[in-house]
Symmetry: C2
Subunit: 225 residues, 2 copies
DNA sequence: ACCTGAACACCGTTCAAGT
DNA sequence: ACCTGAACACCGTTCAAGT
């Protein structure tokens, strides 16, 4: 952990912003947000904390960078498609996948106020696809706002309210403060069991999309007279 | 700020867990999560940091306590009603209201792993109402999971992706990193404008509830043959 | 150009005193 | 019983050196 990274040929790899962000992301995934400090991050890269300031502006810049990485994953997993419905569907799933893959880092997407370029590019791509198929600019943006808000919010609440790793029954009592009443423990147990989280998400997504579509002014007809 | 609290009669009010939690909540609302430290919290109460440890277990205990306060507000604002539909509707709005009233504290609802008793009581009350009107226990819990996940997630994403305070156009450029391309700035501006957030939330809630209801096994009929 | 030692103000937390 | 001084290891960040 504390050893300096070297190439196969044995020479030291110089520090760089991307390398710092990758290490930060890894550290957060492995040991949680609280475990990220400039000191530990430096150690992870075989360097003292102060060296990091030659490549990043500060801790907040590192956090922003990690959020940028998350959106990059979404961008790569969900390119816009000819049919905008397919596109936003895959976007919603890509967002959820990223949140589930990085449960420790994901809350920063909403708590870190900066919006990274990668996030804007994803939105842009899907807006363009929707406009190409006849939606107005305003409707397209409203669509993307709804879908991202739903997908991001639902996923964050999902991992945050702990459906538990796979089976949550063992750990549920540890989520409660020691003194809780017997009947509330039972509530917690019932509430925490998510039988089919994927299906629940998909169901909600389906409802949202169907609702949005039916409120569209008029489907632009591309084939018939 | 640094003065010790006193009663109208002039005697010192002793420290207590509730008083500490109220001060912590206030401090987070006013100056942000990062501004909360045991030292500052003590100062706010006219006391040194170490004194707090006589009434709370540590900083994490304080954070859990603040989350408990948030759920208490929800509990008070959304009592269960004879018709469960009204009840969960008011619950969803109560959750959103709390998130909007405490944007700095709200993310802790999902990042603080402990589930407070006040949260369990709200769920319990509405589950009971739903069961009284013929839903099975399992369906009632699924209903409450969906509604809380939607309401909490949507609201958090809403305040997190910054629809901006009232008009967001002035500040939007500050959410972007300095070097972003011109066309992406335009994307950000369009994406950040929420014309009627309340209506969007209500629309999604309506869709979710209608969808859930139509997937219910059979409406229990209470009046006709 | 990039890394570091020394230093700063600020953290969370403990423990042995004080009253 | 409750508050505090002194102390600890650990933060983020700066700046003047080193190489």
């Amino acid at each position: 952990v504390t050893t300096q990274a070297v190439t196969a040929a044995g020479q030291r790899i110089p520090l760089s912003r991307p390398r710092i962000l990758a290490a930060a992301s890894q550290l957060i995934d492995d040991r949680g947000l609280d475990a990220l400090s400039m000191h530990k991050l430096g150690a992870e890269l075989g360097v003292k904390a102060m060296s990091l300031y030659n490549h990043v502006a500060g801790k907040d810049d590192v956090l922003d960078g990690v959020v940028e990485l998350l959106w990059s994953e979404v961008e790569q997993a969900a390119p816009a498609t000819p049919d905008w419905r397919d596109g936003v569907r895959s976007l919603a799933h890509a967002v959820r996948d990223v949140v589930h893959r990085h449960p420790n880092a994901a809350p920063m997407i909403i708590s870190q106020p900066t919006i990274p370029a990668s996030a804007l590019r994803v939105v842009q791509a899907h807006v363009v696809a929707a406009v190409n198929h006849g939606l107005t600019n305003e409707t397209a943006y409203a669509l993307l706002r709804s879908i991202t808000t739903y997908a991001l919010g639902w996923s964050l609440a999902e991992v945050g309210l702990r459906g538990g790793p796979p089976g949550c029954s063992p750990a549920v009592s540890e989520l409660l403060r020691p003194g809780v009443a017997e009947d509330l423990v039972e509530v917690a147990e019932n509430f925490c069991v998510r039988h089919d989280p994927e299906a629940e998400f998909e169901f909600g997504l389906h409802l949202m999309l169907r609702g949005i579509e039916s409120s569209l002014p008029r489907p632009s007809d591309t084939t018939s007279p």
